[in-house]
Each structure stands twice: as C-alpha cells, then as structure tokens.
Symmetry: C2
Subunit: 366 residues, 2 copies
DNA sequence: CTGAAAGCGCTAACAA
DNA sequence: TTGTTAGCGCTTTCAG
C-alpha cells in the first residue's frame, strides 16, 4: 500500500476516528465536553493559539500548509469562536441598539427592517429596544446602560426633549432619529418636515381643495414633529392666500387609528366642512378614511386624504393612501454611517443630516 | 467647626472634588480614563472586589455600612458593570434570539412585540434575527452560530422542513414556532391549525355560504401550514355535506397582498362563482377585499372574507376583517417558558404545545 | 511567519 | 461577613 507525504496511515485512521467522535477526543484531551476552545484546536493542529487565531480571523501571511492543517482541526472539532471572550479583549461587541417606541408600529417596524439590513452589510447586529411610550424607558436607553452591551445606539425618542437628552452623557455613541429632540451635541437624522407638510398641502390645494383639516395634534404630545408639520401646513395655506382657521386643526386623545377615527367623526357631526385632510401619519389617515366612510363622505370625491410615512398600510387601505414618503432606507443608511464614524472615534459636534422625501400618490387624493 | 465619625474634612473635600471630576480621580489612580472597573470601586471604597461584586449583584449578608460605602464609591465613579466580562465568566448572555422571516410583516412584528414583553419580565433581552425568505439564513440560525451570542433560540422557520431541522444539532436550546417544521426532538409551539380552519369555514357555512374559496396555496411553498389549513377547510365542507371543488382552491405567486389580489381577480374574471373566502393570512384577506371591490362584489353582502392571524391590519382594513386569532401573548409566553426550561438544563424529548385560538368577528363576515 | 505570555473585567471557590 | 486567588476564552504585544 503506497502513500505519500508526511501523513502516516495511523494518523489518517486517527483523524477519521476524531471526525467521527468529537466528544471522544475532547474527553481524551481531558476537557469537559461541549466546548471546543482555541487551545484545543491549537493542540490538535500542533500549532500555537496565535496561529489558530490568525486563521480564524483571516490574517494574511499564513503559510498554506499551516492554514490547511488548522482549518482541518477546526472542522474536526467543530470549533466556534466564542464571541464573549473576543469582545472582552477587543472591547467591541459588534452590536448596536435600535431604540424605538415599538416594533409593531408600521413605521418603526419598517425602520427596524432597514436598519437591520444596513447593519448586516457591515457585519453589525442590531439589538432592538422598545421604549413603549414610557419616558422612563427612554431615559434608560441613554442612562445606566450596562457597559459593553452595544457599541452604539440609534435612538428615536418620543417623550424626551432636546434639553434632557443634551444633559445626559451616555457612555456609547448615539444617533438620534425623528423630530422630538435635536440637541446640537448629538448626531441626528430626519426629513424636512416643514417642507414635506407644505408640499402635501400644496398637492391638495392644487386640486382646488381649500378647507383642509390637519389631523392632528395629540393631546399631551409635546414633541416637535407636530409643530413642524403644522408649520408647513400653515405656510402652504398662507402662500396660497387661504385664511387659517383654527377649528380645522383637530386634536386626538392618542396615537391609535381609533383616536383619529373618533376625532374626525366628531368634527363631521359638529358640522365642520372640509375637502381635504392632512394626517400626521398613515394610521391617522386610515382612521380618517374610516371616519369619513362612516359619515357618508366619499374619498377622494368629497374629501382628499393624505397620509404620512408611506408604510405598508398605505397600500392596504381602501382607498389606497397618498402619503408623504421619507426615504427609510436612506435614513437607516445615514444613521448607521454617522454612528459608525462615532464608533471609530469621531468626536466632533453633532451632525444634523436631512434625508430626502417624496410624495407617493395613490387613490386617496386622485 | 465640628464634625463626627471618621471622615475628616479633607476627605470630604476630596470626595466633593471626586464627585465633580471623575476623569480626574481616574487619572490620579493611574487608570486610562473612560472605563471604571470593579477594582477601581473596591480601591476607593477600601474593600475587596468580591465585596463590590456582592453589592452590585444584591447578594444578601452585607453589612449596611459597607453596602453604603460601596454604593457611594459606585455613584462617585459612575461605575457600570461590564456585561461582557460577566458573561465570559458565567457563561450566560441573558439574551435569546428570535429568528423570524421579517420584523415588518404584521404577524411577526406582533409576535416580536410579545416575545420582547415576556422576555423583559424575566430580565432577558431579545436579539431579533431576520431570515428574509432565505433558506440559507434559516440554516444559519441553527448552524455555524457563534458561541456565546445567545443562550437560546426561538425560531419560526418557513423554508426548512422537519427532517432538516431534526438533523442539525444546534449548540443552544431551540423552541420552534409555526407549522413548517416540527421534529419530535425539538420543543414546539403552535395553534391547532386544522381545528381553526374548520371553525372558520363552519362560521361561513353557518351563514348559508356554500361555495367557499380557499386563498390560497402559494406557488413553491412546501410548508405544512397550508396543508393543515386546507385539511380543516376540507373537513368542515365534508361534514356539512358540501362537495369539494378543486377549482375553489386558488393559488398565488407569492406571499404579498398583491398576489392574493391578482389571484382572486383572475378567478372572478374567469367566471368562478363563490360566496365566501377563507384566507391563509390577513394580508391575503386584504388582497381579497381589494380584488372583490375591484370586481364589483360587495363584502360581506356578496362574499364573506375570513382572515388569519388577527393582526392590526384586520382592524385597519375596509371593511374590517373577521380573523382567526391565535393567542400571540400565550405563544410568546409558552415559547419562552419552554426555552427557559431548556436553558436551565432540561434535556428531555421535544414538548409540543398547543396554544388556544379564537375567531374575532368583524365586518367582513356579518 | 509563528510562539509564549500577559491580561481584558468579572465571578466563584475557597479561606480567613 | 469579607478577602484572595484562579481562571472564563480570546487577542495582542513582543520575541524568535
């Protein structure tokens, strides 16, 4: 029987046996079973830990033979690098937190999807943290965070304001989303809300609509988002010479679709006349659609309805919704870009980035 | 100036100064700034690391004085425990992975929300992993996982089948969700799909409907979910003495709402007559609603439509959708319960748990 | 290009 | 009740 090279038949048999029974060799090596370590691989391959580490991390300058021998040992033992140990020594977790009110609100679930996709591209994992309408949960995002959980935080606050966020000194880089808070010291990504609202109202005005409802301000909501949108609404009307009428600005008792439904229904019943509705988000727009249908008003025949966020529900609703569409993929991309720069050591002042938006026209404003 | 106890005025001044300037003391202690360690706290408090660790972890049997002194040092230095180091030594991460197709599909985002809520109750964090319609991504959930990333996995597969999952030997406990795969060796949580489908069809039958469409089988989808539901559909019809008609079982080209819309529209145009539609999920039901409206059929007047999953879109649609409602909170609770038992060492055979469901009646079947 | 040794920050035995 | 010591598994100097 002929064979070549340095591998003896006995070594081959041994290797086969090893391949067949990992637990066996580990036990034979005197290790507790169930965990293969770098040292185990090194021992089996007959090299140092450093060399195995080099192979695992694809370092250059490794001789092909050694590389192959180490890889074989890795495969035979079923070795998986332990991320925890690696993190402890490198000080990096490879994870970022995405703090949003809730994963099951359409806008946020779509943002989460985009951030996840963009992060994957950079080999980063995303830990979603839900703040669930609680200001305490929002504070916990920046304060008292355990050390070493994530390398950075993308945070869409709802309740915390600019000043409070500016005061806190989180121990990880932060990028802010949304319009609730925008301290000068922190990176921030948003769309031009004033412009977007103005353009939306201009669309309705261009269709000859003159009595346009803003739906709406939420009772108890102090965030900046509504202010910006209301300002754009106002600018568009004034520019068109349409007098502002405070009673056209409706308010609701909450952020749910049903709150918008109740609000618009009450307005119609109170005798308010209007031919357009600009909504703070798609859910409110769906509520408006339902309220109007319930009141016997046709959309877009009698009243045009404009949504905001261009979430999937804009396609699901009947009629489908025209909606202000922030470029969510771009929001995710820019946010992660800023965050990665911070994680890489950038320590300058806050960058405030504006991401483009457009209006997606569907049935509700035809 | 009078003072009592062992604290000298100088020490007080020092403490004030320390409180004012963390970086200062750390630098004075010869540490690189920016990271406060357990040892730093121990040094400042004049106790051992063990004692500080005890305080941090709320161990019993600590004298109040020591406890207070340590806490003071912790506050002054702004100490945060390093989770990575803790994980390395305890071997536990306190995290579980939730592997789902996508966070922005209504059913899964709602499941994610429930799992997150339940996990929080146990001090566990959830790492969401999106498999995005890729069987490779699904395999990666169980295979080649880095060691020590999570303590357990809740996995809702779509493409992997029972056998493939049974063959894989993941290095962390797993609980399976959904109907695609259910190996005997793995814990599993689902609702009684056959029963639910039967009850849904029975509801339609009870309204005098006799020609009930099943919408639908998805081209290329080999998962068990459709089979179960189709079986329940069949059972209900046979029990009512309604002959099965294969042409009433529609198929679609994909899982999106638009696919269902196209399918039902084509069926109507082809002259198919029916008075009820049982859908594989709420999105398909929304598609059916739109297709029927587009074809001039009224819901529920001409045709009743039944959704599945009872997601938020069932409330948003027009008309609102009657839907099969799995108890999602209970699914999350049971899944985490099984997983926690596994993480605590349980190593028996797979437990298969059935969670209750009901039918939530809304406008589409009135 | 590869090896040996130090140590990341913490907890867990074991002592005292 | 508190202190001491020895690692957890890995990467990273620094030698060779």
């Amino acid at each position: 029987m002929a064979y070549s090279g340095t591998t003896s038949p006995i070594a081959v048999l041994l290797a086969l046996e090893i391949g067949r029974n990992r637990a066996g060799i580990l036990l034979a090596m005197g290790k507790r079973s169930g965990l293969v370590r770098l040292a185990d691989v090194a021992e089996l391959a007959g090299v140092s830990m450093k060399t195995v580490s080099n192979v695992v991390n694809n370092y250059p300058h490794i001789s092909p033979q050694v590389q192959a021998r180490v890889q074989e040992a890795i495969d035979q033992l079923g070795y998986r690098p332990n991320v925890t140990a690696r993190r402890l020594v490198t000080g990096r977790t490879g994870m970022v937190a995405l703090a949003i009110p809730s994963v099951d609100q359409p806008y946020f679930s779509e943002i989460a999807r985009q951030v996840g996709q963009e992060a994957r591209r950079h080999g980063i994992r995303v830990l979603i943290e839900e703040t669930l309408d609680s200001i305490e949960a929002e504070r916990a995002v920046l304060k008292d965070r355990e050390e070493g959980l994530v390398d950075g935080i993308i945070f869409h606050p709802i309740h915390m304001d600019t000043l409070e966020i500016a005061r806190l000194k989180p121990n990880a880089p932060v990028v802010l989303l949304g319009e609730s808070a925008m301290p000068l010291t922190t990176d921030h990504v948003m769309i031009q809300n004033v412009d977007a609202a103005r353009e939306g109202v201009e669309l309705l005005l261009s269709q000859g609509r003159r009595r346009i409802v803003f739906l709406g301000t939420v009772h108890g909501d102090l965030s900046g988002a509504t202010d910006f949108r209301l300002q754009g609404y106002q600018e568009a009307l004034l520019a068109a010479g349409v007098p502002l009428e405070p009673e056209l600005v409706l308010s609701t008792d909450g952020f749910a679709m049903e709150n918008a439904l109740d609000s618009i229904t009450a307005a119609v019943e109170a005798g308010l006349e209007f031919d357009g509705v600009m909504c703070r988000d798609d859910l409110f727009a769906v509520g408006a659609l339902k309220g109007l249908a319930g009141s016997g008003l046709r959309v877009p025949g009698d009243v045009a309805v404009l949504g905001w966020d261009d979430t999937a529900v804009a396609r699901y609703s009947t009629p489908t919704l025209t909606s202000i569409a922030p470029n969510k993929a771009e929001i995710a991309r820019v946010a992660l870009e800023l965050l990665r720069e911070r994680m890489d050591g950038y320590a300058g002042v806050g960058r405030h980035r504006i991401v483009e938006h457009k209006i997606v026209t569907r049935e509700s404003t035809l």
